[in-house]
Amino acid sequence: MRKQMSTWLVLVTILALVAMPLFSQGAADKKASEGTTVIELWYGAAMTEAGPPPEDWVGFQIIKDKLNIDLKITALPSSEGDQDVKIQAAAAANNLPDLFMVRREVLARLVPQGLVAPVDDLYAKMPVRTANHYDEVSRRNAMFNGKSYGLSDPGAIIKNEGLLIRKDWLDNLGLAVPTTSEELFTVMRAFTFNDPDRNGKHDTWGYGSFEEIGSYEGWPGRRLQPIFGAFGAEGTWDMTEANAGLSVFKDGFYDAMVYLKRMVDEGVIDPNWMSYKKDDFRAAWKQGRFGIMREQNAAYAAQSNYAPFDQNFPDGQWIIIDPPKGPKGHASVGPYTANFRVYAISAKAAQAGKKDKIAELLEWMASDEGYYLLGWGVEGVNYTLDANGIPVAAGVPDPDYSFTGPKGQVVTQLRNMVFYNGDVELYARYPTYTTAVSKKQMSALDVLREMQTKKWTPAVGSNTLPTPNADLKRFYEQSLSEFITGKRTLNRANWNVWLEEFRKLGGQAWNDAGVASMKENNLLN
């Protein structure tokens, strides 16, 4: 008995040792029995705080019955950094899923490795989807060496942010809406020192921000772009024919830095701005800490997002204003580019002959059946159609299962794969509502439309331009913030010395590579 036990132990150990590395390589390409194709999909969840669709979600069965596809889905992490790490780790092990969402910068690293398949041949196989999702700009977005390596679906709506100001604070202080950068400074000062909320405490600041840096909205990030826009230095890149290159080399950038330094030195910007993460920033404006900010339409005006502010300040009112004009008449909310969610197909999936099945799946998703099922769920269970044919949450038997309810929203997790910012989606996503406390009529869609009328700077394709290496990026961002915090003295002489150092360290090469790419891809305005 004991001998048998020892033998078993040895066998189990060997099996475990052999099996674990095998399992760690992930499941091999699977073609299930009876011709069913297994497609593994890593998707970007529509609501990262909610769970995935349940295992018995009707969509899985429909996809199996109609397309003979066994769809295995995995939600990517919510933060872009974590998404990148997950995808790159899988790529390093040559274990990418069949179809996966990926940022363009990461895709650019996977293409030279031969890990993703070209998708040019798929557009013709998906006529409905291609008509709604993939225009010429979209096809060019994920193009490398003349081939398209990703299906670039419409992403976040463009120009969906705006410069907002507390109208009630302006009224309390008898101030007009600022139109120039100097008027803006006067208002910021008043919001900071003249007790605009009339609570008798020095607990408010003029401007609120945090560092939200992206590839085309370099330091200090998008929240301060209206300030830099006043000096014609918005965005990482200037994409005009006459001045193409990195904005940091422009005179206006230095002027914007001086203005920002003034904001910091005079204490008119929320002093926590460099410590805030996104959630802290959003909690802060809802607590009435500052009176001017750049915010996204839904983050500001969607029902659940506006509710805490409405609760705290029933008489509070934000309005969207034009970006302030600078000394030379420049003004801009910031740069904008076409936003995409890129889905790529692994080379492994292509070799396994799955590309056509993936096209079939995506085309079905773009059909009316797929669009409504993935977008809102099942009619009569998760949504009903109003008189205009817009899906609404009202009228379903159990509100918990409506597409906005806690049990219903999980079935719409894949909606970003079918949405293309069409009218039906926008009306459904941003319904007009009455706020709970102040009884105001609000609509994030109206807010969006108004934000889109303001002055923005076209920078289409700026997110596809070369990015600096990690050391240069750090040098760039760290030095600029040090000029603002005072670790480096901001004056013209120091600035020029720093620019020279930046050039030598690789800034000039980065600039030149960017300009060459703009010219090569006809991106100059």
Binding site: R2, M5, S6, L9, V12, T13, A16, L17, M20, P21, S24, G81, D84, V85, Q88, A89, A91, A92, A93, N94, V106, R109, L110, Q113, G114, L115, D203, W205, E211, W219, D270, P271, N272, M274, S275, K277, D280, R289, A347, N469, A470, D471, K473, R474, F475, E477, Q478, L480, S481, E482, I484, T485, K487, L505
Partner: protein, 307 residues
Amino acid sequence: MVTKSRKSELSREIRRHASVYVLLIIPLVYYITFKYVPIFNGQIAFKDYMALDGVLGSRWIGLEHFRTFIQSYYFAELLRNTLMYSFGKLIFSLPLAILLAITIYESKRRRLSRTVQTLAYLPHFLSWVIMYGILLALLAPGDGVVNDIIKAFGGKPRAFLTSVETFPWIVIFSDAWKEMGWSAIIFIAALMGIDPALFEAAMVEGATSWQRVRYITLPSIRPVIVIVVLLRLGTILDAGFNQIFMLYSTPVLSVADIIDTWVYRQGLLEFQFGLATAVGLFKGAIGMLLILFTNRIVKRLGGSSLY
């Protein structure tokens, strides 16, 4: 004949302690799978790793990745910051943990000491995301508790989290606060092993509390302290990625960027796994050398050692 008898003796021993061997299986599988098998993949530190070519098929480039790391613009600063935080945490956190362990052990009020012990453990279970929220609430220049106090006394608020002067101290002390209770466990366990007769004899001889700590407690737990220090030296180039990644921001990068945050940006985000592995090997080699060196010194000085 002798070999056969030894073999049967070994198998008899294994059978006798079968349950212990069963327990050994799981950690054994873990270590082989996650610690020894990856050593084979460590060769990508010397290769231009291409996922499709695999570990063996990728092109050999020798010490190129090591050169890239050592010649990187911020290498000296990264090394300085990493060592600063590692030694800083060792110097501040370890004595605090020992002090806490002795205090808990010496306390006559059992309920109080248990409560303190539990409260001291708690921060260990909080993630650095939550710790960051707490630190922001305490230290924010706008409305942080500490700055409120400074303002109440007529002082000028400070941006503790974005100032290069204060940031290193926040890293070291917040780590001490978070890990002190957890680190104290091993010392409390060591204290439990001291023969109570030693304390009784010392009390009969009229030794004060401080004398008991100095001449009995500390010498008794010295072997454990030495082992803990030696093990910490083995990971001296791990300065706490999670903590610093959560706390740092652009104004403090000059004192916050450590080897691991650089590897994250340059290696993982830029898809340079060979480079990331090379830095991992570099860290491991330094750690091993430090352990060997320190262990030999400690041994020569006649103290306890790791092996």
